[in-house]
Symmetry: C2
Subunit: 873 residues, 2 copies
């Protein structure tokens, strides 16, 4: 039989798989000699066995827990049934990965009607004792018996209102006794059983509840959101209680070793005097800043600073520390690597490297690639902001960024509206774990209560979602679905704009501008490009996109979509002239005019990109995409082209397709209209010649799309190359061009070795390849994909993260075949997935040379590529 | 250096690769001691070297040919330059596979102005000698110098008309001398050179022409049509001349050892007295039946019967023999396995087995699977025939079958009209190899001249195309594009109907009925099912299709397309009610009514199929296929369903798809509308219960289409199975059903092992799999696929013959994965390719259990499956 329970002094920080993050760190800190209340941890395996045994404790586990309770009683000199030294414990979950607010905690476990007086005598404080007991009943009732919290809270509020109390600390013994009676009645009513009096019964009930909470809905949502496997289980930590609520020499708080929003070095946090456990995190009372502790309890503050510093150095990362002060003595209850905003993550990582605590590789691994675009969060445009109406700046900047959206007052509505395509902002008094579904779909989160470590703040920072908390001048009426701030009333569906960096809220929508990051960001990106094996290129063709992308230092352009250049009115006209031409002469005349436009296009691109490589994809969409759309356009065009309307319509009917995605497009067009690609090749080469004369070394990479049959590539390539060679001879010059193929048809992957004979490079088009491998049209799948996700038929959207078993397998087959035929062949990816970190890891592992993504995703891809190179050397 | 030239006594029948079919058989017959004019064969490799060396003879080859000419002179005691014993030779092509009419022949080679008198003296016949010389100039002029035949023919016709001659034999010496002068002038005019007088120059010119003819257009078309590789080359046979045109004791003919139309045993053929070489085949003179030879030249006839019998027994197959009689002595010039109609092929194969000449396996291998549907050629319906107007029954039944179509008078027009989708019938005085492109696209071929072995007859039989030749009361004016028969005039584009079995031609179109084959056909099919490893099922759901298919004894139904049952008006109405239902109640009500229809459908199928297995595919098409099509239907439906037109249109807009092929269909429907599949499963099981009560052992195989993700299959299967099990319990009975998946999405192939966990069988849907693997929509590809074929980008249509490298590879991956997970899993194919012989060989090799095809293709598939089992044991 495996050991299932570990005393804190039996473990260490490396045992997170078994002890969970919290348990492993409690063990580590115990080893370091820190002031940690004694206790033990029940392993994650015990949790999984329990869940797999239909939620039943094995006899082995029961015995092992009982024996550790005995040891704890010995070590503390306290006992559940002692008449002088009463053992009370906390029971907390602790999974391998931190899941804030997702799992449940019970404090003060062991109290009952019979031993209340022991605690009261020991502490000399009946108010405290009764408060502890009512908390136990409340937490136990909620977590173990599943009684909604508001039953208890409403009862407490009723007493406070009746007596005119403002704070919980105003209640006296009699009040608490009444409340305890009421709480017990609530408990009985819901459970048809009395609140359990036997401490061991309480203990096993609490352990069972923690185990089961692994599978509650919130936990499942969080795991899905964060790609945490379902079979890890949670550990349970049983720990001797220490009390922050024994009076004004006591308190409880949360401290970060650096500022989690900015990364600034120095203790950052909040605490509450005379409070217990969840009071700070729950955001019920607005806590004080940690700096105030230096004046309130200077010795404790000094201890906290010293221990924080020690922990950060020990873990080589910014720490998120929970502490409790009991009658002037500091106890550390938990430490973990602190969640931080993306901006803070960059600053902290660079600082830690500069301070010599970690290596560049470690720094790169510390930053989640997904979070990169958070530091590049667009901000409000300065002009637009000038005209905007400020509603309030009273809140706290809990998570940076800027967003506009429609306000909603409950998570369900927010979720529903977001699914319908709206940009939503969640407005709540405070958030709780029940709100998670609504939070993940929101552009921004705003609360009227709570501090920088409240649930809303922590979750928002974790998600990179813009957030303002503690907006005290915001009166929210969740039932009436409206909010008032400074005489302005907001109704559900109204637009507001939120600046999470400045903690400002504006009325209406405000235009945004992209950001290009700050110093630490650029330092990290330099390191990333240094370590990465995969080059990162961008998909771009417009001057503005190229300029924006160049600020991220891409290795080149991986995809110029030439069709994007055909839609300006004067070009579209020529394209239509080409499509409707009655003879080869007209057709060539139209192509010649398009050629001149394309010449300018490519010159601009070369000029911007200088000597960086550029892949230009030849025309891809079906011709019917260029047709007129309505009767007015049709009759206008008929006049222009000297055709009858019925001639026009006949040709349009001819071009119509049942499944355009599978139709006459890509290189198939060039089989029917060889001059189309020849024209484009001519523009590419002629513009390169012009740039060469200006002293630029342009190396155009010409890409033929939608190849699925060997002869498509060989014949089109032969025509293009013959045309180019003739041009070069005519111009008595030389251009270092190459001709490759876009692999996006499943069949192409199986013949990649044959295709390699006629291609200088391949670029995988993951969009079409995914569409064809799944038989999903992106245009249509949107209609049923929600049902797929809701019914968990699809876990990850294959258009956002590479499907490794299907699409990935095809790419792997192609890579192997291509390399077999041509070991040095350049291989890349230019679909949406080129900017997805998990997909990039796969592309690194199978040995591609580059990925190409939208300019804005370039830095994410660069970081992901570096991380893949570090992780999969 | 390799040997490139072989004397006839150096080879044998197995050397077809080197000597070609004709050369190998000449060598074999020489070995058997048959009366074969002496000669030698230049190898196929020599041809390829010549073609690869830019059509130049290597010095080695020149020397080798010269040395064999010397040997031939020694063996015959004749010489090119002898003044008494003149050596004249024939030069004929002979590729590995017989290519009738495709390659060219030159006779009488060696004659010149100087040695004419030697031949004349030797034979005592100046008319014959001059006829031989003019033939040489004509053939050499045509084949080597490329002068169109009609120049020579017109010249000959002019003389005949002027002199009032009817036959060539009417011409005297003076006439021939005039013609020779004219022919030489024609030659000089076209070549700007005199007709070559030097025999060796003639010989090398002829060999070069034969070599080059390998690449002429006709040969290329024929090879493409018959899948003959381009790199085989042709051999050249140089053979001492024997003369059929020396007088009435001479002649030339073609004989089959059995009737090539019916298979009837006994010599069958035609001959011409006093004629040479190509006269019979060219159809210029109408020849006499071979039976007449028994009275004309009894000894020769007896020899021919004896030698034919010997050759058939030697080759174990029906022979096609060319012979020449020179002054009463029989020479065999060629033998080969005779081309035959499909009907004859079956009869001959069965006879040869019964006669003990070949085994059943050999019999099965002798019949081309593609030809099976020729014996099942539809015939005219008896009723329709009664009302039809007979135009003529004067022709010869050259190739059986029946067809209606529009008449055209030249190959080019026929080809053009056929490509435009018309059914065409080619009407010609006689056909020549130049007509091949028009012949292959015709439903029937009719000629006014020529016999049963004429070009038209041989080619039509080879292609299984219905053909009537020698229709002497048909006056065809090819220039005016009209034909007269029995006072009726036919213009281009008029419909006629041709019965190739009865040699009857009717006016207009006549309705057709399918045929189910005759005795020998059924014998062969019994043997085929005995030898095949693959079961053959049919795709069918209508009672009439099922009944028709059952006559071919299929192993079951491999595909019931349930959607075909939804289009009858009363069902379509319920389907629309389902689609437009506003609530679950209306939806269920509609489904319940559809359930009742489906119950009857399945009962009928079970009743017809008895205990044979039936695979029923659940609904596959997108819902928009069931929508109303025009405003009238829409407003009618709105009334029926008590909806406004705009409500209807909104829902229709909702259902519209950009790429329906990649849209919301197949099992994706069941994710959104689970009750749809449950309803179908219920109908399948309830009808099975009813049939069980009637004593039938029904084993329905329920197939879920379009699976691409594991969870699709697991969740839908779970729902269906739960529903069925509840039904069975409710009915206190048991049905042996199974649930499988249709694999038609590329991704499904990669996860076949995972899918196998939740499937009892797989059936590959090759249509969709091919569409997705190529990214081709069958609905749209038609528009550009012609260009693909014309430019040889596509060699085989992947929708007609499996693409082994792409689609086949995916299927192979899936088969291996499925068998790994479940070694005994039943695997089949139910797309169009299930009836294609070449694809069936592949499916046999990768170890599928069955193929399923349209009822009419079942016998082809059965034979192909047997052949695959014999060939790939």
């Amino acid at each position: 039989m495996n050991k299932q329970v570990y005393d804190f002094n039996e473990g260490n920080a490396k045992m997170k798989d078994i002890l969970g993050g919290k348990g492993a760190n409690l063990a580590e800190m115990t080893k370091l000699g820190l002031p940690i209340p004694k206790g033990f941890t029940i392993s994650t395996q015990a949790c999984m066995s329990y869940l797999n045994q239909k939620e039943d404790f094995s006899e082995d586990l029961i015995q092992e827990i009982k024996s550790h309770v005995k040891s704890l009683q010995l070590a503390t000199g306290k006992s559940f049934n002692d008449s002088t030294q009463l053992l009370l414990v906390s029971v907390r979950s602790g999974a391998k990965q931190s899941m804030p607010g997702m799992m449940d905690t019970i404090l003060n476990l062991g109290l009952n009607d019979g031993n209340l007086s022991v605690l009261a005598e020991e502490t000399g404080n009946w108010v405290f004792t009764l408060d502890c007991y009512r908390r136990l009943i409340q937490m136990y009732g909620n977590v173990v018996a599943g009684i909604p919290s508001h039953y208890f809270e409403r009862c407490l509020d009723k007493v406070k209102t009746a007596k005119g109390y403002k704070n919980d600390t105003d209640l006296n013994c009699e009040d608490w006794q009444g409340i305890i009676t009421d709480f017990k009645a609530i408990y009985y009513k819901h459970c048809q059983a009395s609140f359990p009096q036997e401490p061991m019964q309480q203990l096993f009930g609490a352990i069972a509840a923690v185990f089961s909470s692994w599978n509650n809905e919130r936990a499942q949502v969080y795991r899905e959101l964060n790609d945490i496997p379902d079979n890890l289980g949670t550990a349970v930590n049983i720990q001797e209680m220490v009390y922050g609520n024994t009076g004004n020499q006591s308190g409880t708080g949360v401290a970060f070793t650096r500022n989690p929003s900015t990364g600034e070095n120095g203790l950052f946090g909040e605490y509450l005097i005379n409070a217990q456990g969840e009071d700070v995190v729950a955001g019920v009372r607005t806590p004080a800043s940690i700096d105030k502790l230096a004046t309130d309890l200077p010795q404790c503050y000094e201890d906290l600073v010293r221990l924080s510093d020690l922990l950060e150095k020990h873990y080589c990362d910014m720490q998120d520390i929970e502490f409790t002060i009991e009658n002037g003595k500091l106890f550390i209850l938990q430490t973990r690597n602190g969640k931080r905003t993306a901006k803070a993550a960059f600053n902290i990582a660079v600082s830690l490297v500069n301070e010599g605590l970690i290596s560049k590789e470690q720094a790169l691994m510390q930053i989640e690639a997904k979070s990169v675009d958070q530091v590049l969060h667009p901000t409000f445009s300065a002009e637009a902001l000038g005209a905007a109406k400020l509603l309030t700046d009273e809140g706290l900047p809990a998570s940076p960024g800027a967003a506009s959206g429609r306000v909603y007052f409950d998570a369900a509505t927010a979720q529903e509206k977001a699914q319908a395509g709206e940009k939503v902002i969640l407005l709540r008094q405070e958030t709780s774990p029940e709100d998670i579904n609504g939070m993940v779909v929101s552009q921004a989160i705003v609360t009227s209560r709570g501090g920088m470590t409240s649930h809303a703040a922590v979750v928002a920072r974790g998600m990179g979602c813009c957030c303002v908390v503690g907006c005290s001048d915001l009166e929210i009426d969740e039932v009436a679905e409206l909010a008032r701030m400074n005489s302005q009333t907001l109704h559900a569906g109204d637009y507001i704009s939120v600046d999470g960096t400045e903690a400002k809220i504006y009325a209406g929508q405000i235009a945004m501008v992209p950001s290009t990051g700050q110093e630490a960001f650029h330092t990290i990106m330099d390191w990333a490009r240094e370590k990465a094996k995969l080059d990162v290129r961008m998909n771009a063709e417009s001057k503005s996109d190229i300029r924006m992308g160049l600020s991220f230092n891409p290795a080149g352009i991986g995809l110029v979509r030439t069709e994007h250049m055909f839609f300006a009115p004067e070009r579209l006209r020529e394209m239509r002239r080409f499509i409707f031409s009655k003879n080869a002469y007209d057709q060539d005349a139209a192509l010649k005019r398009i050629l001149n436009y394309q010449l300018e296009d490519f010159k601009t691109i070369y000029e911007e990109m200088q000597d960086r490589p550029v892949v230009i994809r030849l025309l891809d969409p079906p011709l019917h995409e260029f047709l007129p759309h309505n009767n007015q356009e049709i009759s206008q065009l008929a006049k222009q082209l000297h055709l009858t309307i019925s001639q026009l319509e006949n040709r349009m009917d001819e071009l119509a397709e049942v499944n355009p995605m599978l139709g006459h497009r890509g290189c198939r067009l060039a089989i029917s209209y060889p001059n189309l690609y020849k024209m484009q090749a001519e523009a590419i080469i002629k513009s390169a010649i012009i740039m060469k004369e200006k002293g630029l070394r342009v190396k155009p990479e010409i890409m033929i799309p939608l190849v699925g049959i060997k002869e498509e590539l060989t014949s089109i390539r032969a025509e293009i190359v013959a045309h180019i060679e003739a041009l070069l001879i005519e111009n008595k010059t030389y251009i270092d061009y190459s001709v490759g193929a876009m692999l996006e048809i499943p069949r192409a992957c199986f013949i990649a070795d044959d295709l390699a004979e006629s291609a200088d490079f391949f670029s995988f088009g993951t969009n079409d390849l995914t569409q064809l491998t799944y038989g999903f049209s992106r245009d249509d799948a949107g209609k049923f994909i929600n049902e797929y996700v809701n019914r968990k038929v699809l876990k990850l959207d294959p258009f956002q993260t590479l499907d490794e078993v299907g699409v990935g397998k095809l790419i792997e087959i192609a890579v192997n075949k291509a390399r077999q035929a041509k070991p040095e062949m350049k291989l890349g990816v230019c679909g949406e997935l080129g900017g997805d970190p998990r997909s990039i890891a796969f592309f690194h592992k199978i040995g591609l040379d580059y990925v190409s993504c939208s300019p804005f995703r370039v830095p994410i891809a660069q970081l992901a590529a570096a991380q893949a190179a570090i992780q999969f050397k």
